[in-house]
Amino acid sequence: MSKIKLMSHLVAGYPTEELSFAAASAMVRGGASILEIQLAFSDPSADGPAIQGACTEVLSHNYKVKDGLAFIERVHKAFPEVSIYLMSYGSLIYTPGVENFCKRASEAGVTGMIIPDLPFDHDEGLTAACKKYGMDNIPVASPSMSEERLSKLAHAGFKYIYAALRVGITGTQTVIDQATLDFLSKVGAGGSKVYGGFGISNGEQSKAIASSVEAVIAGSVFVRLIKENAGDKEALSKAVEAKARELCGL
């Protein structure tokens, strides 16, 4: 079987600037093709306890958006072949001005924006600003969407759509069944490439959806590994790289 394309998630600056850079490097060594880098927000209501805890800790170190963008730039310079998507919340994008934020993100090396609380049909100009600066707005689809709304999203002309495979929030186990695969095909019905994730934590799950998606997304599993190994850079790097390999089917 060929290598599975992996989008792996990390929170910029968690648990420290150096360790999050070590985690990003380990993900790339383990085979990740895309890094989804989250900028910590004070009220991340679409995230579960593991990611929210990480965000709270980062913010307690007075970590600013400019620090997060500098981190992204550093990762981009170290691994120019890897795509970087920025994940955060509408408040951080809207407050400085959507276009201004997108310009800064693009200059740091971001090529896609994942902002779950700016709805695709009321996005405050996010899609247009992304286009202007050579990035993609990547909306998030959920299985709980009505057929009508899901179809509207699938046919809205987005290059990529992020499919959250489970109702609820990040970080708990997801079972891959026929309903999951049906959902993925509906998300891709309009020709968008589909990234699939939410609760993906092992190679078996990753293999089960690999052929239905452009890339497999894994988030909370990495946040947990990073937290468990926060005291030991070498162990952290090893664990993260091994998990990335497993998810890539290597």
């Binding site: 009220d43 209501s45 929210q52 779950p116 709805p119 009321h122 969407m145 929030i169």
Partner: protein
């Protein structure tokens, strides 16, 4: 009077992840349906009369009027509603709506605990399972309300994420709802959050303003100004409701001025310079945010006003000048609490005391033949743990110490030693 497709001018909206979209859309449809259903409305009216205790009185305050030397002062005694505050109006309305929608389980957020108490009571009354999310910091400082919620049979979950206060309880409730949209209804307690909540809460709270309008018409009262406190804004939008599309009377919102004008010292979103337009917790409004868009800490002696955002309709009405906003310091609210207790025999909740203080400031601006109506949205019994350490610190400390000693020794109150005996 209500939103234009979820928006009030530029504010409001439904800024949520797609996972919450369907429950919100379904709620919106059900709300519009049941508001036209005579059976639902009759059931609601009966509960409002017999369980909440409506209508609540509009009290003339002659000594306050004389001492303040201006307009006639009236107090809408909304705090006489069952469970002690206006929060029950919305809680009963939404729980009844959820029951008609076929939901089995209710969740709610609470800060000070008043909305949690009201929702727990409404669930007990209407036979629904109830879980209340409350920041761990608030659980510690509002134990009497936690005890009441548990007596009503609710499960109180202490939220340990983020700042462990009201906004974090909202986040946790949204997560629960996102995971259980089919069985569960989320009873949001204030006139904010994503659409349709601002309209729903406004609607169920408009009973306050509609009563005031009727009471004034019956008694020939000429209203010069109406004053309410504004946290998220549920009591104020309901109280102002029948007047917002008219040119008069003056509508005045009192925000928490806390201990001062600097960041972290207050919860003033419409006055002062610490606030800005933003999108947080599903809606666009005015928030206390830093330059990056992160929420800022807030402060007020009144837990119910201690929140970073304001309802989108109030923000819109404030920006266009229909509602005037003023900021009331903690110490001014305490002075108003004292003033109305001593002179009128009315004990305001600390939240509502902000409205009392704002009325005291403007009394002379309104002619003597006109009325200022203050919304006492809640009564002050709940604040005994906050007001006692301020007004009678030593006695309160002695009480707590002797009570703890008695509990530790497992003694009946009749056999306990006399308070302060050993001092």
């Amino acid at each position: 009077m209500y939103s234009d497709n979820g928006f009030f001018d530029n504010f409001g909206g439904k800024y949520v992840a797609e996972v919450l979209r369907r429950p919100l859309d379904e709620l919106e449809t059900a709300f519009h349906h049941y508001m036209q259903d005579p059976q639902f409305l009759a059931e609601l009216a009966e509960i409002q009369r017999d369980y909440i205790g409506r209508e609540t009185p509009l009290l003339y305050a002659p000594r306050a009027t004389e001492l303040l030397g201006g307009a006639k002062i009236y107090i809408k005694l909304e705090g006489l509603a069952n469970t002690g505050a206006h929060k029950i109006n919305n809680a009963i309305g939404q729980v009844l709506l959820a029951k008609h929608m076929g939901k089995k389980r209710i969740i709610a957020e609470t800060g000070a605990g008043q909305h949690g108490v009201a929702t727990a009571a409404a669930c007990a009354k209407l036979g629904m399972d109830c879980t209340v999310y409350m920041g761990e910091v608030d659980v510690r400082r509002q134990q009497p309300n936690v005890a009441s919620m548990e007596l009503y049979g609710a499960k109180v979950v202490a939220v340990t994420s983020g700042a462990r206060t009201l906004k974090d309880a909202v986040n946790e409730a949204m997560r629960d709802w996102a995971a259980h949209p089919d069985t569960t209804h989320y009873v949001l307690g204030s006139a904010l959050g994503p659409a349709p909540f601002p309209d729903i809460v406004h609607h169920f709270q408009s009973v306050i303003g509609n009563e005031v309008k009727r009471q004034c018409a019956e008694r020939g009262i000429d209203i010069g100004a109406m004053v309410a406190c504004v946290g998220g804004g549920s009591n104020s939008i309901g109280f102002f409701s029948p007047f917002i599309d008219e040119d008069s009377p003056r509508l005045i919102g009192a925000e928490a001025g806390g201990v001062g004008p600097n960041i972290g010292e207050n919860a003033s979103r419409m006055t002062g310079n610490a606030s800005r337009e933003g999108i947080v917790q599903g809606y666009k409004s005015r928030f206390l945010l830093d330059d990056d868009g992160q929420s800022l800490p807030t402060r007020s002696i009144s837990a119910g006003l201690d929140y970073m955002g304001i309802g989108p309709q109030l923000a819109a009405l404030g920006m266009k000048g229909r509602i005037e906003f003023t900021s009331i310091l903690d110490k001014e609210a305490l002075a108003a609490l004292n003033f109305f207790a001593k002179n009128e025999g009315v004990l305001f909740a600390l939240e509502s005391a902000h409205a009392g203080a704002a009325a005291m400031k403007i009394a002379k601006e309104i002619p003597k033949d006109k009325a200022i109506i203050i919304n006492m949205s809640g009564r002050g019994d709940k604040d005994v743990f906050i007001s006692s350490p301020v007004f009678r610190p030593n006695e309160w400390k002695n009480f707590l110490e002797s009570e703890l000693e008695r509990l530790n020794e497992n003694k009946d109150i009749h056999n306990a030693k006399i308070m302060g005996e050993s001092k």
